[in-house]
Subunit: 255 residues, 5 copies
Amino acid sequence: MGFAVLLLVGLVSVAEAADRDKLLSEAGVYGTFAAFTLDDDWAKEDQATRIAYLTVLRGVVDQHREKLAIDLYLMRGLSDHADIMFRVHAVELREAQKFLLDLQSSLFGRHLKAAGMMHGLTKKANYVPGLPDQMKADLKGASEPGPKPYAIVIPIRKNADWWALDQDKRLALMKEHTEAALPYQKTVKRKLYHSTGLDDLDFITYFETSQLEDFHNLILSLEKVKEFQYVRQFGHPTLIGTVISLPEIIEVLAQ
Amino acid sequence: MGFAVLLLVGLVSVAEAADRDKLLSEAGVYGTFAAFTLDDDWAKEDQATRIAYLTVLRGVVDQHREKLAIDLYLMRGLSDHADIMFRVHAVELREAQKFLLDLQSSLFGRHLKAAGMMHGLTKKANYVPGLPDQMKADLKGASEPGPKPYAIVIPIRKNADWWALDQDKRLALMKEHTEAALPYQKTVKRKLYHSTGLDDLDFITYFETSQLEDFHNLILSLEKVKEFQYVRQFGHPTLIGTVISLPEIIEVLAQ
Amino acid sequence: MGFAVLLLVGLVSVAEAADRDKLLSEAGVYGTFAAFTLDDDWAKEDQATRIAYLTVLRGVVDQHREKLAIDLYLMRGLSDHADIMFRVHAVELREAQKFLLDLQSSLFGRHLKAAGMMHGLTKKANYVPGLPDQMKADLKGASEPGPKPYAIVIPIRKNADWWALDQDKRLALMKEHTEAALPYQKTVKRKLYHSTGLDDLDFITYFETSQLEDFHNLILSLEKVKEFQYVRQFGHPTLIGTVISLPEIIEVLAQ
Amino acid sequence: MGFAVLLLVGLVSVAEAADRDKLLSEAGVYGTFAAFTLDDDWAKEDQATRIAYLTVLRGVVDQHREKLAIDLYLMRGLSDHADIMFRVHAVELREAQKFLLDLQSSLFGRHLKAAGMMHGLTKKANYVPGLPDQMKADLKGASEPGPKPYAIVIPIRKNADWWALDQDKRLALMKEHTEAALPYQKTVKRKLYHSTGLDDLDFITYFETSQLEDFHNLILSLEKVKEFQYVRQFGHPTLIGTVISLPEIIEVLAQ
Amino acid sequence: MGFAVLLLVGLVSVAEAADRDKLLSEAGVYGTFAAFTLDDDWAKEDQATRIAYLTVLRGVVDQHREKLAIDLYLMRGLSDHADIMFRVHAVELREAQKFLLDLQSSLFGRHLKAAGMMHGLTKKANYVPGLPDQMKADLKGASEPGPKPYAIVIPIRKNADWWALDQDKRLALMKEHTEAALPYQKTVKRKLYHSTGLDDLDFITYFETSQLEDFHNLILSLEKVKEFQYVRQFGHPTLIGTVISLPEIIEVLAQ
C-alpha cells in the first residue's frame, strides 16, 4: 500500500524547489511552526479517501516548494498538543501564510484544527562576536552525521529584568550559557529563532537529536546557569515529535 | 471567479461612507477589534453558497459604512487565535455593536465564532505636550508611503505600580520609551487605543508595516526601556495578520 | 414584526410584580449575574420558532416577577464572553435559582449555555459612616436623569494584605478612593455587591452610563489611588453590554 | 407526575443502608465530591425517557447504599461549573470509584459530563487538642436544628510557608482562625476533608446553612485573620448549590 | 460475559514479552504516561461492538509486548482528567510512539481523546551516593508484598533557585526529604522519572499503595521539608486511579 502511494506522489513533484540550504542557514529568514490536530472525522474516512486527501497534501507542499522550505513532524503518540507540525522557512512571512491558507482550504486541510502557531526570525548571533576565540572555534564544530529522528521545540520568554540588563552583562551570562551547552554540540543540533513582537514569545528554540538522553542533559545544564533565572516561560508547550518525510506521513496517516 | 464576484459586489456598494479620515485620526473615537474563527461547517458549504454568503458580508459592511470605518484583516495562516478580524471605528460604541449584531445574525455571520473582542478609545496624546520640542517635531514625521501589508495588535496592561507613579515620573519614562521608538517611525505605523474599564486591558496598540523585521526590532527596543518593567500583560494574545480588502477576502474565503 | 410580538407578549404579563424599587435599593438583597451564550442551533431555527421560544422567555420572566427584579442585557456585539446577561435581585438566593432553573429548562433556555454566574449581597455602606460630612453629602447627589444605555460589570477580588489591614487604614484608603470617584457620580451610576464566599470574588461592581468616556476616566482614576494596590483581580472578565428590555431583546434575537 | 415517580422509586429501595451517621462523623473516611454537567442531548429527550433514566439513577444509588453515604446537590441555577454534585463518603476510596463507574455507565450517566472531582479524608482535629478549654467547649456547641438548604464547597491550598511553620506557630494561627469562626457555629455547619496528595488541594471545606448572609460573614471573618496569608488557593472553584433529595432531583430534572 | 471475553483474549496473546523486570528497574529507560478520555460515541456503541473494540486493544498491546512494558490504569470514577491511562516503558521513546500511534488508529483508539502525555527517563539516583550509610541501607528495604490497587502520578517542576543551588546544598535538602519519606517506604512504592526537556516538567513521581492514608501522610511530610519551598509545580494535575489488568478493563468498559 505504501509503495503505491509513493509512486502516485512521485509523479506530482515537478515544481522547482527553493534554495533550501540558504533558507535553513541564513539570517533574515522567517520560521513558522504550525501545529495541527486531525479532527474526529478523519478517522471515519475510509482508507482510499484518506490516501486521496494525503496526496492533495503532497500537491500543496509541492506548489509552494519554490519559495519555501517545508519540514514535517509527527507529534501524535508523543505530544498531546498536536498530531502533526509544519516548520516553514520563508524570506517573507506572507509566503508562509499563503502556503498555510492553501493547506487549510485543501481537502486534507479541512480535517486539520490549528493547535498552535509561532513565528520567529533568524538573525546573526547576538553574543558570539563577544565570546573568547576558543569558544567561537568550538561553536563551529559540526554535529555528528546521521539521522536525528527526534525534534523538540521549546518556546522561551525572558523577563523584564533580562531586557533591562546592558549588553555586557547579557554577554557574560550568555558566555556561561554557551559553555554549558558546548558538550552537547555533537549530538544535539540547535537552531534559534527570534520572535519578539511576532507572537507572545521572545525566542523559539529548535532541537534535533538521535540521543534523547543527551538532549535531556543539555536542558538540565542550561537550567543550572544564571541566565535561566531570567526566563519566565520555558516550554508551555514543549513540543516533542519525530522528523518525518512526506511519503512517511502519508503512510502513517493512511492507516 | 474572483472577477465575477467583484462585479456583483460592486453593484451593492451604494451607501454614503462615513468620514473615514476623521474617524481614523481624531480623539474621542472608539476602536473595536473583533476577531472570529470560521466554524467547521464553513468548509463543507459548496463554493457558490460561500460566495453568496460572502456577498452578504459585503452588504452588511455597506449598510454600516455611513457611521463606521471598518477594516478587515486575514489572520488565518498566521494566527491560531482567529481566521478574520474586523477593526471598527465609531463615535458611539453602540454603533459598532449594531454592526456586529447584524454581522453575526447574517447568513455569513452564522459561520463565525467570536474569538476575541477588545474596545479602546482614541485620546489626545497624554505625554507628548511634556516632551522636548525636537522630539515633538520628530514625532510629526510621516511614515513612508506605500502598502503596509502586515498588521499586528498587541494588548497591554500596566501594573498597579505604574498607575501609582505621579505624572512627572510617567512622563520621564514615556520620554525614554518614545526615544526608543522614534527610529522605527518611518517603516512602522502605530496607533494607540485606551481601554481601561472597557475590557480587561489598559491599552490596545496597533501596528502596520511592510518591514516585519523593523517591527520586531521596535518591540525589542521597547522591551529594553524602564517603562517595560511596569507592563504586566504584553500581548497574550499578540494578533498578527495581513491587511485585506473586502473583495480580496471574498476571493480567499470562497476557495 | 416587532409590533406583533409585543402584542402577543403583552397579553401574558399578568403576574403581580415584586417591589422592584425596594429590591434595587435595600441592603440584604442578593444580586445574581447570569451570563449565557446562545448555542449553534439557535441560528438554525426559523424565525417563527425563534419568536415562539422568545415568547416563552417572556413567560418565564413573568412567572417570577412576583419575587424577583429581573434585568436584561445584550452582550453580543460587545463582549466575547456572552450573548445575553440577566441580573436578578432576590431576598432569598433560592428564588433566583428557581427562576434560572425554569429558564434553562424552557424551550428558549435549551439554546442557552451558561457562560458565567456571580452572586453578591447588598449591604449597608461599610466606610461611608466614617467619611467627612461634606463627602457624605456629595455622595447623596443623584445621577443625571435620562437613559443610561451602557452597563458594565467588573468583578473584584482584594488580596490578603487588604483584609489584614485594620478598619481605620481601610477607611483612609476608601476615603481616597471615594474622592477619586466623586467627579463621575453624575454620569456614571454605581452599585456594589459583596460576594465573599458566594463565588470566587470579593465584590461585584456594576455601572450604568450614557457617557462611556466618563466611565473610562472613572476607572482610570480608581486605578491611580493607593487602594488599587490591594486589588488582585479586577475584571477578568469585564462584562460590557447594553441595557435592553424584554420586547427589544425579542426583536434583536428574532432576527 | 412527581408522585408517580416517587411510588415507583420507593419499591426499588430495598438494599440495606450503610451506617450513614458513622460515615458522616468518624475519622478515616474518604469524601468524594463529584460534580457533573448534563450534556446537550439531555434536554432533547422526552419527559418519559428522562423519568426512566432518573429512575435508573435511583437504582444505582440504592445498589451502593450498603457501603456508601451518598448526598446530592443541585448546582444548576447557582453555579456555572456544574448541574449536579454528589458527595460520597466511603471507608475505601475504591468503593466510591465503583459507584461512580456504575453511575457513568448507566443510561442516566451517559448524559453526564465530569465537571470536577475532589477527594479528601476525614481526620481527627489537628489543632483542637491544643486549644484553651473554653474554646474546646464552645466548639462542641451544636448547630441550630432545621433544614440548611444551601451547601458550599471551598477547596483550599496552603502555600509552602505554611507547611514550613512548626506545629506551635500553626496552632497559634489556627486558634485565631477558630475564634473568628465561633460566632457562626450555630447557623453554619462546617466539615473538613484533608486532601493533600489525593488531588491538587490541601483541604476541602464543606458548609451548610440556611442563613447565607451568616456564611458570607463567616468567610469574611476568616479572610481577616493571619492564617489567611498562607492560603494560595481559596475556592477556584467555589461550588454553591442547594441540598436536594433523590426524589426532588428527579422532579427537577424531569421537567 | 466477562469469562467469554477472557477466553477470546487469551488466544490472542502469543507474542514474546519484553523483559518487563529490566524495563521497570533499570536506568536509561523512558517512561511515557498517556492519559485518555473516551469520546461521547463510546457509550452509544452496543456491548458486542465495544467488546470487539476492546479485543482490538488487547491485540495492539500484544503486538508491542516484545519491546515495551505496558501498564494500564482505570482513572474514571476517581479523576476528572481521564478515563484510562497507559504507562509505557521503552528503551527508545520512538517505540512508545509507535505503540500509541497503533493504539490511536485502531478501532478502539478512535474513541480515545488524548488527555495528557508526559515522558520521563529513569536515571541512577542522584543523591543516594551522598547519603549516610544507614539511610542507604534503609532505602533498600522492600515494600510490603501484596496488591497495591491505588496508583497516583504527581508531576513536579522545581524553580530556578533550585537549579541554581550547588550539588552539596541540594544533597543536604534531599537528605531531609528522604528522611521524611522513609517511614512510608513499606506501604507506598515510589518510582522517579526525570523529564526536563521532554515535556514541561522536571520530574514525574509515581506511587502505588493499598494504604491511601499512608500515601496522604507521606505527601504531607514531604510538603513540610525545606526542599518543598523550591517546588513551583506539584501535581496540576495529580492523576489518581486504580491499577487494572487488560482483562479487567475490558470487563469494566464493556458494561
